[in-house]
Symmetry: C2
Subunit: 287 residues, 2 copies
Amino acid sequence: MTLDKNWFVEVAPEAGFAQALKIRGKLHEEQTPYQKLEIFETENWGNLMTLDGLVMLTARDNFVYHEMMSHPPIMNHPDPRRVAIVCGGVCGTLREGLRHPAIEKVIQIEIDKAVTRAAEKYFPELTEANDDPRAELLFSDAIEWMKRQEPGSLDVIIVDSTDPVGPAVGLFQSAFYADCLRALGETGVLVQQSESPLLHMDILKAMRAEMKSAGFEQTRTYQFCQPTYPSGWWSATLAGVGVDLMEFREQDARELPFEGRYYSADMHRASMAMPPFVEKAFAEDLG
Amino acid sequence: MTLDKNWFVEVAPEAGFAQALKIRGKLHEEQTPYQKLEIFETENWGNLMTLDGLVMLTARDNFVYHEMMSHPPIMNHPDPRRVAIVCGGVCGTLREGLRHPAIEKVIQIEIDKAVTRAAEKYFPELTEANDDPRAELLFSDAIEWMKRQEPGSLDVIIVDSTDPVGPAVGLFQSAFYADCLRALGETGVLVQQSESPLLHMDILKAMRAEMKSAGFEQTRTYQFCQPTYPSGWWSATLAGVGVDLMEFREQDARELPFEGRYYSADMHRASMAMPPFVEKAFAEDLG
């Protein structure tokens, strides 16, 4: 069967894998200073945002990604109050982070204002917390911004970036992680999306090595299903200083004042179990 | 981007979703008495088997499905000795089941001999246990076969079937489940693949209801990532009699005499945590 022009197709050439969503039409197209941004209306997934031809999110399944990028690092930190979100311009991670009453401040540093403007228009549910007085939206280069932060000024850093290609490459390197570590001070958690455990083990291992070489004491990868990302099998990786990433505030997670659609205390613990083939690949690096 | 003839494309029309694998060529094509069977060589996923145009398995990712269809029901049963596999002609579930030394007998009832013949040729690693003296391969109608089994003659039934369309529809209905229940007797576990929690909640709920109406005391759905099935987010559902499906032989699972690539005691427990949106959908049925 072939897919006609009524399908948006994303190819992962390195994996010989492609995914496609049936679309009704294109709602928006824009060449920003940084990337090509498009919005499509799909048949079954609500609105779809793509950047340079790659799926960023759909209205239907982004809840998994946004919940799993925000709640685990926050619940892994013993006393999270100050959060920075690197990239994350669609604001879904910001909204989830602000659901935690203990959080006093969330600063989001997105380089491309057009992403946030498009999210406001086409994914208004994701930007509904942008007016929260605890939220600060900066539109600038997060790598440069991180260099300027005071030591110990942040508790949680969420790197909600695109894949490690083009300008995002620097976000996967130890120089950036070292700046994050300094900003976290003695106690802190960083989390970053870390691609597919099945397809991108090389990226995952390299990322964990860069985090360690930047000085993070511990790394921990967790996983979840994300249908519209290549293979539908995705991961995020935590790096910690002064915290035990093997544990999280489980009792607090059972008593959250909001309800997740994907996240719960049980799902948090479950997501941290990794298949033996992944554990084995990670262990090789320590051999 | 469009996909040319070098891609095998599977469309899930009800979900407006498609997946594709890059192929080098077609190795085999056959109209069996039951279905159209094709084997492709892919670029990155090893050999691919399709039935009536739908992905059955690839060499690269079938380990997840086969391990998750066999080990959880076996480890959920207190004393599993006699196993029946309904369908499962590619024999990967059979191989995994036979890894358990306690298992005395596995009978596989596959209607289409051509599937097993093709597996022997194109996925020899899956059929390597077929000569085990504990294995019995029958090629007949499993629905009819199940009607004839003695009460209490089986401990575990694994329904490793295609989707609920065409001849497989009967495998998702209470009449079949009632025959399974009788064959299990006072203590037994049935498991069946139950589609995608995100895309097919209607099928999942209907299946659980049919199991209950057949007389099973308990059902429990668990999940895993399965990249080459629609959405990459898949599930299986247990139905039990005389066993507590909330628990499994966890200590035994930590001491298995073989190593899973996806399955472990931790992954077993993790797979049984379901996202709140799924729990909520299931709870509605009890309201």
